[in-house]
Symmetry: C2
Amino acid sequence: MAQEQESKPRERFTEISIAEFFSKNKELAGFSNPTRALYQTVRELVENALDATDSHGILPDIKVHIREVEPETEDRPARYEVTVEDNGIGVPKTVMAQAFGKVLFSSKYVIRQNRGMYGLGVKAVTLYAQTTTGRPVFVVSSQENSEYVYYQKVKIDVKRNEPLVTEDGQLLKRSSWHGTVVSALVEGDWQRAKPKIIEYIRRTAVVAPYAEIWLVTPENEIYFFPRATKKMPKPPREAKPHPHGVDLEQVKVMLESTKAGNLLDFLKEEFQGIGDKTATEFLRSIGLRSDMSPKTLLRKDRAKELEEFVTKLRTFKGFRGPRSDYLSPIGEELIELGLTRMFKPEWVKAVTRPARAYQGHPFIVEAGIAFGGSIEPQEEPILLRFANKIPLLYEEREDVSYKVVTSVDWSRYGVQEPYQLAVLVHVASTKVPYKGVGKESISDVPELESEIRNAVLEVARSLRLYISRKQREEMVKEKLVTIAKYIPEVARSLAILSLPPEKLDKQYRELEARARELLISSVSSSVEMPKIDGRRADPRALVEAIIKGVEIEEVR
Amino acid sequence: MAQEQESKPRERFTEISIAEFFSKNKELAGFSNPTRALYQTVRELVENALDATDSHGILPDIKVHIREVEPETEDRPARYEVTVEDNGIGVPKTVMAQAFGKVLFSSKYVIRQNRGMYGLGVKAVTLYAQTTTGRPVFVVSSQENSEYVYYQKVKIDVKRNEPLVTEDGQLLKRSSWHGTVVSALVEGDWQRAKPKIIEYIRRTAVVAPYAEIWLVTPENEIYFFPRATKKMPKPPREAKPHPHGVDLEQVKVMLESTKAGNLLDFLKEEFQGIGDKTATEFLRSIGLRSDMSPKTLLRKDRAKELEEFVTKLRTFKGFRGPRSDYLSPIGEELIELGLTRMFKPEWVKAVTRPARAYQGHPFIVEAGIAFGGSIEPQEEPILLRFANKIPLLYEEREDVSYKVVTSVDWSRYGVQEPYQLAVLVHVASTKVPYKGVGKESISDVPELESEIRNAVLEVARSLRLYISRKQREEMVKEKLVTIAKYIPEVARSLAILSLPPEKLDKQYRELEARARELLISSVSSSVEMPKIDGRRADPRALVEAIIKGVEIEEVR
């Protein structure tokens, strides 16, 4: 082919590494200013700490220590050393440098409900530390069965996206300690970040009451969140991809790397939710032979068939839904406990919905509502958002849950403005569709939005029942009061009227008591108290209380 | 060093490519559902088309053609072919495959005010196309002086992040055409995306009235935005880094690659805003010799000095501010024109603020306000956001401009609810701090926030002046009406009273006219009409108009 001499291009094309990309665009990972950056540093390290513990069945002991190392100057923000220690599974020595010093190298690239989602967080911390203070992150770690404690100081060579280890060593382990300590020196603004960081830890403790968390602040204040229970939810587990969640590129890679000798085995071995029968039925439906070699589909002349194969995989109705038993919801009990502790409400209820899926990713939505009691009246309901057990604090108004909660006409559920209402929404999924890698708000994926609505409205209907029954109870009580308060008087009159004057003295008390008893029984049995939360007030006791009240008033 | 036999790790660590990362997390680049994805596809291609034209001094001719190729089925969304053609500088054949098929390979990684910011957009389109429809993007391009038109079909090998060219060819060019045509086949939802896409093109035309834009929809509707002016703003230019905007990593790379033989030349050649005098003064201030070799600072034993060098670079007060003459604002005239066309308001005004900088990145904020007239009354002011001449439509409520505009107490500026108010904010910068790679909302960087506030309030103060003068004018007019309407009557009475009855007939008209003139002059000169937008109503004309009104009323 003839190749002309090209004129000097008017644009300069260059390639940058992913490390350089995030180093230059820190705000994309949540490091947009000293306040957010300090908050984000704490978040990423704490989330890694929790992923290393409760996701592996270990009761978390987390220590967060923030220390001011250099005060703010006219030229630059203050510098803080953020240290987070966990008692988790530890980082293998062989991958330590890369896990902290190579972007897009991570243990999170599996189909599992992790707090970490992009495998970027801690590398973003490393980048932020080295570009603001020039210091490497310091990592100390030991696995459970290891004889050694390893430590490294790690930076990132941003041009090549490779770890730069500036110090490296190991110590013989003399205790049974295992876990990881990460320490980063970063620029930040503690005064402004403080309320957010404390709220973040507080809400983390709400949904992980089985964790023990210490936070030591630069002022040496200690916030201690003790372990409230040793009961942990079943940890999430890793799953194979669901056929509805794959795309053409992914299937090609799977076909290339599979060990299965034929398409039938390929389907059964590489995907979740496909058994022998379904696989056979599926292949028949698109006219492919069960014994065809998977590699055949990669041939150039089979491109059309491959495409159809993938489209069918994504849409075939015969597969079981995505495995949700591998997800780890918080559970109704813990949500209700958390809301009760936080708000001391009059009424609380939570629901864990059955699993659903979007684009082949399973998810579970949980919702909880706290109403009345000590909740401060607000113009809008208070919204507590969680995703994979992480509290989300920023960018609330762009979150799908905010859209749902503010679109509910709460007056239809008996709730009046100003709202004494807190709504908690938790989304657990192998893939939470965050809007940004900073993980602060969730996109309005239709399946997710509708399921969040279902969850919130399900609890809202219970609330309406509670409120309307409470109102009915009050109406009945009012009616009871109007009638019952005349009982003593009527009983007295009846007794007087029905006795000849000479017997009045002797039989009066007895007759009055009988008349009263008769009236109480008749009134009590004529009303039915509504059942509230499974309990029903005893009308007889109410009537008697009313009478007592009347009599006491009269005596006064 | 002794290396123990490590136990099997409990986590599987893997590395993924940046292409795989964005392929799996499409929503991060704005492709979160079929509606957003179609919108985003159009956006990315149109923004590239504009960057290839007006940024190089070419009056843009842009054609957008969206065609439905396959209708929606029960199983999947409809498929659309999106084609965008421009008359820009063209893509050199040598980089064509990479420019469309390799993530993080781009011409946007320079310090210049581009619409494209991350060099991701078109690659995200390629990824979205190939994962939803399996089709490559089709690129046709020719540079101005090229004898050929080149074409390629490009996909991305996601595992390796390398382009996959499935077709490749060239044609002898028989016309003087130059530019680029990109065509992508994607899943989408035109019905829902339609209003957003049309609004996007409409607003693009508002700030680029020198562009001619055609949009042909799947229904074969044609939206034509003709060129309203041939006057183009000065194109943005590429700048060297400003010392306040660099970090340690960047300086290291610069020191490694510089051709300067000593530190003095290094400062002068590699940075903007540093002359001989400043460089000398700067080096003296940190005690480094002017003739020191730049590479010396990279030596391990100089780490501390290098760090200090960078800190000083970032904070030294003696440098000139970042070059803002390389930025390309819209200009007050075009903003006012755009707002007037869009809203037909009673009053409009815009301001282009002087350049400022955040973290070494220069930026210019422009704000415009339209008030009254045909603006529909709203609960909140209408906000039109632009960044580097791109309209931003989604995620308004998380944008720093929304924060500013809703925090203004508009009643203090004379604007009453419901608002007949539209506020336009444009941020031009070599680095717009978007919250996500989808480029929909801007972070609240303090310097930016305060400058947006300054810009909006500056125009708001003009508006207050206008409104208060209008109110004053109305008060004066009212007062004038009360006085002036008696002038004919008073003149008549004066004439009658001051003439002996015999002369009444002869001199009456003359005297009445004189009295009237006297009264008109005296009343007119006793009031001062406020100046509104530089013009002042003529009180005499007003008085005469009032009198006329009164007389006409009397006649009736």
